[in-house]
Amino acid sequence: MNIEDKPLRIGNREYRSRLLVGTGKYESFEVMEKALRESGTEIVTVALRRVDLSGKGEKTLLDHIDPARYTILPNTAGCYTREDAVKIAHLARELEIGDLIKLEVIGDERTLLPDVAATLDATKQLADEGFTVLAYTNDDPVAAKQLEDAGATVVMPAGAPIGSGLGILNRNNIRLCLEALSVPCIVDAGVGTASDVTVAFELGVDGVLLNTAIAQAKDPITMARAMKQAAASGRLAYLAGRIEKKRYATASSPIVDF
């Protein structure tokens, strides 16, 4: 039997790649561009900040991201209140790049873990206003379900703190989130290397969003390729159905018969 995967569906669009990749922290736009291409991603995240008016005609991010090739997913990174996050979403809407928003309302500067209550409020407001909300949260399955009920189109539990590279710290909770949700569950944050991505997909997540693990690898372009393969491998293993874990051995060869 040859397993065919279904596409990842977000809103009214479908994607073959289940990796979402950030555009921050690269040493150059050129490296970023190549890494995004190697990763095979179709969705890239961006932040919204002031234009550098002393830039004197320097190239900007959009000179290196083709909106025809990638879905651009603006984030509300750096927001600590519902009001600020909603404002950034409104700014993003005026950029006319679609109605997707990766909603982050941060609760703690050191860990960058979310303020879930504020995220819930912002999700309700933005979903009512017609945004397609991808809500960054922690790995609490109760919070995950609340975000879905509040109108999140995708729920994005963190594997570990942003940029920490610690991987999926609580696999059981991610599994519980998956059980609680009927909308897509995309792990966002904390991935450090390829095996973290594979683990996430083996748990059954619908996608993984990562940035630092690629951008700050010693060789981001090779790491992007590794991540693409890791995602494919983890997803296939999940679809193939793994064996159960057992305490004792079960021989792979028949007993000796001579």
Binding site: G24, V46, V51, L53, L62, N75, E94, E96
Partner: protein, 83 residues
Amino acid sequence: MTRPGSGAVPIGGESPTVKITLNGEDYEAEEGASVRDLLEALDLARQRVAVLMDGEVVRKAHFREVRLEPESKIDVIHMVGGG
């Protein structure tokens, strides 16, 4: 209009100006200028930018109608790298 920090005199001589704050810096815009006019002067009118005036989002559809006031605080925003 003058670019921030450029030291240039207002284009067109001594036309009346209005002092605003632009992306955190003092800036002299032409009196009566609209948000659209400001973006034209900054060579950003054809770029994908969004604008805050006094902390509120200015709808793109209103760029030509919304006029800069004295002490206006303008932020011109675009997409940058982020995760």
